[in-house]
Amino acid sequence: MIKLDNVTKIFNKGQANEVRAIEELSLTINPQEYVVIVGANGSGKSTLLNLVAGSIRPTSGEIILDGQTVTRLADYERSRWIARVFQNPLSGTAPDLSILDNFRLAALRTQRKGFGIGTTAAFKKQVQEKVATLGMELENKLEQPMGTLSGGQRQALTLLMSVMDECRILLLDEPTAALDPRSANLVMEAANQLINNFKLTAILITHNLKDAHLYGNRLIQMGEGRILQDFATVNKSKLTQNKIFEWFS
């Protein structure tokens, strides 16, 4: 469960370039909800996601994950609950490290990175099996540096990496913004499957209104740092794609 209680985020407070990114926002996301957030640029979507992830801290208000207040915890301390997929495929993986090394780190997201060698033959086999499910024929290229792969392949692997370790919350920040339409569809489908199979609580930020209509069981429209509209399961299924398009015209 994700709960934001009266959260405000002001950048450069008191200066000429002050930006009120989030204004007294309260939001409760229940377990296994897949929330899609849409909104114009500057509406506060990414700030909201960064507040949940801990990359930035709120000016006021509290953030609660699974009943525990995490407002003061840094991003690396919230990785116990949260896995992330970034807009930039480069941000979610380490390009110079092998695919296997990337997966090893992902498998230890909630754990200590110790002084043993974890990239064993058994671990490699486990990763091979998981990677094979993507059908991208990467399972025999695990020693290859991540940077040699395409953006779509990297995003798909990042998704897979998020469930290598215990995961409750998945944050998707425009994961397909940098991808071609075909790769974008593959990544969105892969995300949908993972969220269903692993019963994850997920937040997706997207500018693709078709995806916003197709995926998730709750739809939120943001504007000027506030929630403008909020459609839960039943209501979301009644929304037509055209209706969502009208919000932006």
Partner: protein
């Protein structure tokens, strides 16, 4: 001939600096020039400890701890106070000059009839060969340690810290802590070079560290050129080529001196050699793009 053996021995002594710079510059992507200070610190601590009759083991631990402390300090200034890494390194390096002078009490510490790692084992009667075997052993041990470390889960997290910080933070690693540990490790290795060279040349000097960072940079850059040449991605291969870089660099310097270049111009020659090594691949690239 002796001339080249000396260069080889020096190259092996500088392996610590080369590996240290490799860790800070290549693994963590931080330009750390605490090196000048931590190398001299290593030498001075060695000189003071040995002339006061402390055993080698205790002196070695003190040297490593002193180097690590210097590196950690640069790391703390860089991460906690968010000060540019170059400036943080310069600050610590500058401060260390006074620290070194205070520890030493004077500017030069000759080691006469003191314990020395080079006389612990008598492999052969030829002193040069004996030194060579010992240095190869020491370098093998530290390379083995670093190579293993980089292969562990912790080591993978270290490598990811310099490669994709957003990713590794999202995977639960405190990157500030990691950078402090990395710089501590790098400067402990640098201090180890000070420890070895002080005993090899028989004295520690307050100015021994001036411009030493270029030796590490040169070694790593030669190593990197070789790495690209052989298209290596393995950790072990990279470490070995960086070591080779350290030796090649000293050899090139030795050859230049043997050709009759004035020893006063040594630092100038060093700088020019590093410039050449850095620019050669680019010049070749420019040509192929024509």
């Amino acid at each position: 001939m002796d001339f080249y053996i000396t260069a080889l021995l020096q190259g092996l002594c500088f392996a610590g600096i080369a590996l240290g710079i490799y860790i800070s510059m290549k693994i963590f992507n931080i330009p750390d020039i605490t090196t000048d200070g931590s190398y001299a610190l290593g030498g001075i601590v060695t000189g003071v400890m040995l002339t006061h009759g402390y055993p080698l083991s205790v002196s070695l631990i003190a040297v490593l701890a002193a180097g690590a402390l210097a590196g950690a300090l640069t790391g703390i200034i860089h991460t906690w106070l968010k000060i540019n890494a170059l400036l943080a390194g310069i600050l610590v390096m500058t401060a260390l000059y006074s620290v070194n002078l205070t520890i030493a009490g004077r500017s030069n510490l000759p080691l006469i009839n003191t314990a020395s790692v080079f006389s612990v084992f008598g492999f052969t009667t030829d002193p040069n060969l004996n030194n060579l075997i010992l240095l190869i052993l020491v370098v093998a041990i530290i390379t083995g340690f670093i190579g293993y470390l980089l292969k562990t889960d912790f080591g993978i997290a270290m490598r990811a810290t310099g490669n994709s910080e957003t990713m590794i933070r999202a995977l639960g690693v405190n990157t500030n802590r990691m950078k402090i540990i990395g710089l501590a490790l790098a400067n402990a290795l640098t201090a180890l070079s000070g420890f070895l060279i002080t005993q090899l040349q028989g004295f520690a000097d307050i100015s021994m560290g001036i411009g030493i960072v270029i030796i590490g940079l040169g070694s790593v850059i030669i190593g990197e050129t070789l790495i690209n040449w052989f298209k290596l991605t393995s950790v072990w291969g990279s470490l070995l080529l960086v070591l080779a870089g350290a030796v090649v660099f000293q050899m090139v310097l030795a050859v230049t001196l043997a050709l009759g270049v004035n020893a006063n111009l040594l630092k100038l020659v060093t700088a020019i050699i590093v410039l050449l090594i850095v620019s050669l691949p680019r010049l070749a690239l420019l040509k192929s793009n024509d």
